[in-house]
């Protein structure tokens, strides 16, 4: 039985490798900039949702405030670059570390809350941060920050002529987030997190330090989310509070995982691949005034999935997990 388990882990790794190679080859055939743009966003949300899944899926602490970490990553990267000339690579890393630290500082009081109360706290904190950034003059307040773009440069991680470098970075980020999850899944932390999600009292009786487990999950999750935020700032080269810290980002990180299968390795990727192109396409087909339509699409998908496959779409591929996410 031990070998069956190891085989499944190896198979996951091989499948992921194949997908990554296929994804890397797609731009050779797809030259359309608009489609490439959607692919970049899809990969970015796959990575973000994978990060969200670590705290909310595996450890069971549902966060609807991850926009905070996304925004912190974006702002740290943009501010360090525009104000101090720090290269975005260090900016993203700094944003990740700051977000991880803030996630733990917020977790200290919030992880005493259970269930819905925790979810409400995450929403309120992210909204508060949004308001703070809207009124923080040094950080551009509501006007935001324009990142000056002076031609293609890997050093400054900005590209004008082609979106491809962004695409490959987003792909790498998605791969890293997936690999981190894959590795954590079969580690002490992975087991502790799932135990905490299922039954904190029983976990505590088996030597699991529940509070520390939640803190660890929050730190890893926030770190990866902030890297995604830093990437996004470089990708769009203009940020303002609403466009990187708005509530819709919190939703967009949670939804792919929920759609694909919460607390599963493949759920976030699968969910992002379906959800992001779908919403981008509906938005562009319906046109300028259709700002609410993508939300209608999310709503419909969530209703359908909760009726037909409450465990998420991954349930279609592995019958063994059918009961898992009940």
């Amino acid at each position: 039985m031990d070998t069956a388990f190891a085989q499944r882990r190896r198979r996951d790794l091989i499948v992921a490798g194949i997908f990554a190679v296929i994804a890397a080859l797609v731009p050779l055939f797809v030259k359309d900039v608009y489609v490439q743009n959607i692919m970049v966003l899809t990969l970015m949300y796959a990575a973000l949702s994978q990060s969200w899944n670590i705290l909310s899926g595996y450890c069971g602490q549902i966060s609807l405030g991850h926009a905070l970490y996304f925004g912190l990553g974006a702002y740290t990267t943009a501010l360090l670059f525009t104000k101090f000339g720090v290269l975005p690579w260090f900016g993203m890393l700094g944003g990740g570390l700051i977000s991880a630290a803030i996630a733990m500082a917020l977790g200290y009081p919030c992880f005493r809350l259970r269930g819905h109360y925790f979810v409400i706290a995450t929403i309120v904190i992210a909204e508060t941060a949004l308001l703070l950034f809207q009124n923080w003059d040094w950080a551009g307040a509501a006007l935001g920050i324009d990142i000056p773009v002076r031609g293609d440069s890997w050093l400054k991680f900005q590209f004008v002529r082609s979106k491809l470098p962004y695409f490959y970075f987003a792909l790498a980020l998605a791969c890293v987030a997936w690999l981190v999850t894959w590795w954590l899944e079969d580690s002490k932390w992975g087991y502790w997190w799932r135990a905490v999600k299922d039954n904190p009292d029983a976990a505590e009786s088996l030597g699991v330090v529940v509070f520390n487990s939640k803190m660890g999950a929050a730190a890893v999750s926030a770190f990866l989310t902030a890297i995604g935020g830093g990437f996004y700032a470089q990708f769009v080269s203009y940020i303002d509070p609403e466009s990187v810290m708005g509530f819709q980002f919190s939703l967009l990180m949670a939804l792919p995982a929920v759609l694909g299968g919460i607390g599963t390795l493949w759920g976030p990727v699968l969910g992002a691949v379906i959800l992001i192109p779908l919403t981008e396409l509906t938005r562009s087909f319906i046109g300028g005034s259709g700002r609410g339509v993508d939300l209608i699409v999310y709503g419909t998908l969530i209703v359908l999935i909760s009726l037909a496959r409450p465990e998420g779409l991954v349930g279609l591929f592995s019958p063994r997990r059918k009961e898992a996410a009940r």
């Binding site: 079969d186 976990a203 699991v208 607390g263």
Partner: protein, 243 residues
Amino acid sequence: MTALLETKGIWQRFGGLVANSDVSISVGRGEIVGLIGPNGAGKSTLFNLIAGVYTPSQGSIIFDGEDVTRLSAAERCERGVGRTFQVVKSFETMTVIDNVIVGALIRTTVMREARRKAYEVLEFCGLAARANVLASQLIPSEKRRLEVARALATEPKLLLLDEVLTGLTPIEAQTGVELVRKARATGVTVLMVEHVMEIVMPLVDRAIVLDLGKVLVEGKPTDVVRDPKVISAYLGDRHAVGA
């Protein structure tokens, strides 16, 4: 030989309710001790105090020569206290073996090692055939055994069993009794709370009877069941006079 577990003058109050008053018990190494008593006697409270769910209002708990009164449940687990829950608390979305691995991980962080250990414990508890089934799919008696398996995977010196035999069919209960004996044979000390006397009396070396939050009687099971005080606590004074 010093006792493995000792409680010294434990008091536990919940608001105005005194659940344990001046409870001092001791459990020797290698013993199987039964903690019995009628409903509301304070068994579960004492049990949870020993497991580290609550901190007593007064008194101290000595485990393996160390004062553990202020330690958390997780810290006590690390020192060798394993427990089960009266209302089973399986990790429902995890497989049976994964449930046990969580317990094994307190002694090793090498996953291969933890997995091997978990499988061994499942074999010991007769659950190996169900290793890859989700815990939510187990029948009640298997869930009880999973509770024991999970606790044993933490390699406890003291195993606390909270009504693991209650509500089982006679055959299932017999299997449970054998499992407890087997566990003791490996050197584990057992303290078990039970409500139903017939099941535990043949199993335990010593019985401690609690009533109204106090230790009423303690001694050999055969003596305890004949004690008029015990009979009156369980059945009321009228029967005690008759006996």
